[in-house]
């Protein structure tokens, strides 16, 4: 079989493709590229960060506990930083498929976008969760017990529980976030990486 000839002579038709060409307005079509989903996630993240920061500021005015001020103030700063970083990433991601990049470059662009997003989530996990857990614990404890914060934290048992809360909650949130990331994009990222490696290796 002369495969060049057979391939070039082959043609086919498909109703699904023909229907696609009959569209009157292509702008109605929805993109299903994973980077589009990522961009939508970034927007959701930014909105949440702003809303949560507003809530923190409201709590700061309501609760007169300096440890909670420090905790929520720090969290607010981190939230603002994460929202800023997310916005930067959002603006840098071009969801249109490049017609100048090689396949390897295009796959690398996609892969890097996801990796940068995950680094933002990692920072969130490592810096925000411990402070959030400590602040939440102190605020809840003080409001629940009705004691001043110094009296509430004076009990060594409470300090132990606070430590345990941070030790349990932080990894739980971190690994939970990682699991969700892997669940949503893990297979896709592994495939992108495998193809990049395949194109990079000297066959």
């Amino acid at each position: 079989m002369d495969i060049e000839n057979v391939w070039q002579q082959s043609s086919g038709s498909d109703d699904a493709l023909n229907k696609m060409f009959q569209q009157k307005d292509f702008s109605n079509l929805q993109s299903k590229l994973p980077l589009n989903k990522l961009k939508r996630n970034l927007v959701t993240g930014i909105i949440l960060a702003v809303l949560i920061t507003a809530l923190y500021v409201a709590v700061i005015f309501y609760v007169e506990i300096w440890q909670v001020y420090v905790s929520l103030g720090t969290l607010s700063l981190f939230n603002i930083f994460i929202a800023y970083d997310s916005r930067k990433l959002y603006r840098s991601i071009n969801v249109n498929i490049s017609t100048t990049n090689s396949l390897k470059e295009e796959l690398q662009k996609n892969y890097n976008g996801f990796q940068r997003w995950w680094r933002i989530q990692e920072r969130l996990g490592l810096f925000v969760y411990p402070i959030g857990a400590a602040g939440g614990f102190i605020m809840g404890g003080v409001l629940g017990s009705g004691k001043p914060v110094e009296a509430f934290l004076y009990n060594p048992k409470i300090l132990l529980i606070l430590g345990a809360t941070i030790i349990i909650l932080v990894p739980l949130c971190y690994f939970g976030a990682r699991w969700m990331f892997n669940y949503a994009y893990g297979k896709h990222l592994a495939k992108l990486k495998a193809t990049i490696d395949e194109l990079s290796e000297a066959f």
Binding site: M1, V6, L29, K32, L33, L103, K104, E105, E198, A202
Partner: protein, 157 residues
Amino acid sequence: MSEKEFLSQLKEHRNIIYKLVHLYANTEEDKKDLYQEIVLQAWKTYSAFRGDAKFSTWLYRLCLNTIFTIQRKTKRIEYTDTAKFEETHFTASGNDEAERLYKAIRTLPETERALISLHLDGHDNREVGELLGITPNLVGVKLHRIKQQLATLLKNI
């Protein structure tokens, strides 16, 4: 290029979209998603087409970059001497040889499918290398191996 010219070019080269999608789509849903994404991306980026390259090369690049970037259902057809190839839905206007060739190519790893299809459509090793991001020498070495593999596969299909 006006939108009208673009659409006419796209329709004229629809066989590239058809052939590539049928080399990679594993389900009907995949196929429809790929058609939609390719047409949408072509529509969004055609204004950047300056005519430096042939329209077919431009479309090839767009199709491959889209196909490899989108999330697809993974279902690789493993080749064995007695492999069943019913999974391939390609119909080439009653051309048995073309159908056999498609079935054989679909058993190759995904990057190799891109490489052989570009080669069979007349792109030289330099162009294939540029489109995939590998050197022309590697394209040559790989093509030699793929053709040998295809010859064996075609004897068994």
